[in-house]
């Protein structure tokens, strides 16, 4: 049940328990227990909502920042990563293979705020060698969902 359960709630975490149990062909109590276990084991880390902010009046600017760092003795990249992810404005931090080390995403109200964060907070941290900031201009697809997709059934209404 675990894999199928995860794949359903990955797409829709708001699904009600009863429906979830029916779709999985399981008793509700088993589903509740499994969900609790998944949370305990840290497999389910949170429940988020996918929002297309572009359709609201609220201004949001997102940036992807490439960061090159000097790994620290005994701790590798973990220490510097924790210095970065502890800033609440930082949304994601990934260790990346290739031309740079860390990929940081940041969401702010304006371009200026992002610039301030990079210049004042990020690049002044010890062991940061360089940063490269990319602003997101348009979001097409997020978490496997095509953001502005019009769903239209192209099929004939009745067929054998």
């Amino acid at each position: 049940m675990r894999e199928e359960l995860l794949s359903i709630i990955e797409k829709n975490s708001r699904i009600d328990l009863k429906e979830l149990a029916i779709r999985l062909g399981e008793d509700e109590i088993n589903v509740v227990n499994e969900l609790a276990k998944l949370e305990q084991e840290g497999i389910i880390c949170g429940y988020h909502t996918l929002i297309n902010w572009e359709k609201t009046n609220i201004e949001k600017v997102t940036a992807l920042i490439e960061v090159k760092v000097t790994p620290q003795r005994g701790q590798g990249f973990d220490r510097i990563a924790s210095r970065i992810y502890n800033y609440p404005e930082v949304r994601d931090v990934y260790l990346i293979s290739g031309g740079f080390d860390l990929l940081v995403t940041l969401e702010e109200k304006s371009l200026k705020e992002i610039a301030m964060f990079v210049s004042e907070k990020l690049s002044t941290l010890d062991s940061i060698l360089s940063t490269g900031t990319h602003f997101i201009l348009k979001k097409y697809k997020d978490h496997g969902t095509i953001v502005d997709k019009q769903i239209k059934d192209e099929r004939e209404v009745v067929s054998p």
Partner: protein, 389 residues
């Protein structure tokens, strides 16, 4: 002036589905539960292979039997899933959908006055194709009490000295019924004893929700007397590509290839290249779609239970077949009223043969959200009917 028309075709009634389609198309904003095709788009990597084939200029006929590479992959697929070995050179023919394979398969096998045994409710093409091939259809009316399986008794009682072919349409459209290995074993004895041949339409084979699908051709002594029909439409969500195939004894495939060669030349080239990709790398997509169908199936069965609507539990295809006999209407009356009052279209069971009377075919090739709304409306509809009684 007399318009030249052939009597066999003019005497055949148009499909009952067509009639219902005309009513539905005039109804605006109706929800449909009436389709017989997947709601998923063809997986992108398969579409891309089709596009790539066009880009490379693969725009010519293939050999009559189909691309060699595709026939090899079909052979691998049957070996992998059913452990049946078909020779790609002589025992496989690629056709324009499974429906072409049904048509030319029957034409290649029957002579006039041979009987073709057709268990119903079933897909609408078998009976007309048998008639057009010059044969006589012999209908077996299947029963809900047997979960719409073909029982050995029903088969034994139907057989006459003229019976030649048995159509075996499982997993079944419209009932969703399946035949498991032990069910097939029981009838295969009778088939062999009476020297029948089987046309096994396994187009929904990959969509089986109770164990894995078993082909009758995989049973002992059955490969040599079975034409196995399958295709890409349902499993890989490729209905519009029009691609199916037949596997069977080389003597029959040879004659089928002749009809195919004269009538069609070859199946669409682009589709054949896409299908190679589907068989090589599409198994994960099939699993993902199958899981989604299975969740919807459970959802519908549960919804019927909650509204006390009589329905046997189907384990195949993407249809449920609830019984509406308690309302004292024909399926066509029920479906028409349901459409007019609740704006939901479902196909009357009678479109699939006499024994479908009193049932409704509901397709779950729709999103759960869609099905939820439809089930609320069905609940409202039958509660109103029950109160009126």
């Amino acid at each position: 002036m007399t318009i030249p028309l052939n009597d066999s075709i003019t005497n055949i009634k148009p499909s009952g589905i067509r009639k219902f389609f005309d009513i539905v198309s005039e109804m605006k904003d109706a929800i449909s539960l009436g389709v017989g095709e997947p709601d998923f788009d063809t997986p992108w990597h398969i579409r891309e292979e089709g596009i790539y084939a066009l880009e490379k200029g693969k725009t010519f006929y293939t050999s009559n039997a189909g691309l060699k590479e595709l026939r090899k992959e079909i052979s691998n697929y049957q070996k992998r899933h059913q452990n049946i070995i078909y020779d790609p050179n002589t025992e496989i023919l690629v056709t324009v959908g499974g429906s072409e394979a049904i048509d030319i398969g029957l034409r290649a096998m029957v002579n006039s006055d041979d009987e073709v045994i057709i268990p119903q409710p079933a897909y609408v093409s078998y009976e007309p194709c048998a008639i057009l091939a010059g044969a006589k259809p012999l209908i077996i009316n299947l029963k809900q009490e047997n979960d719409f399986k073909l029982t050995p008794e029903e088969l034994q009682n139907a057989i006459t000295p003229k019976s030649k072919i048995l159509i075996l349409p499982y997993p079944n459209n419209p009932t969703g019924a399946i035949m498991e290995r032990e069910d097939l074993e029981k009838i295969s004895k009778i088939i062999i004893d009476n020297d029948l041949y089987v046309m096994s339409d396994e187009i929904y084979g990959a969509l089986t929700y109770k164990g894995e699908h078993t082909s009758i051709a995989s049973l002992e002594g059955m490969k040599e007397r079975t034409i196995l029909i399958n295709g890409f439409s349902k499993a890989f969500a490729m209905t519009g590509w029009r691609l199916g195939y037949a596997c069977g004894p080389k003597e029959i495939i040879k004659q089928m290839t002749k009809i195919h060669q004269f009538a069609i030349m070859c199946a669409p080239t682009t589709s054949q290249y896409a299908a190679v990709e589907a068989l090589k790398k599409g198994e994960d997509d099939v699993k993902e779609m199958k899981d989604a169908y299975n969740q919807r199936r459970r959802f519908l069965i549960n919804a019927f239970r909650e509204m006390n609507l009589d329905c046997f539990e189907p384990f195949g295809a993407f249809y449920v077949f609830p019984c509406i006999k308690e309302f004292g209407m024909t399926s066509e009356e029920f479906a028409t009223k349901f459409l007019q009052e609740e704006k939901v279209a479902a196909v009357p069971g009678s479109a699939f043969g006499e024994s479908g009377e009193g049932y409704l075919r509901i397709s779950y090739a729709y999103s759960i959200e869609n099905l939820k709304v439809a089930m609320e409306r069905l609940k409202h509809f039958i509660e109103t009917l029950r109160r009126r009684k």
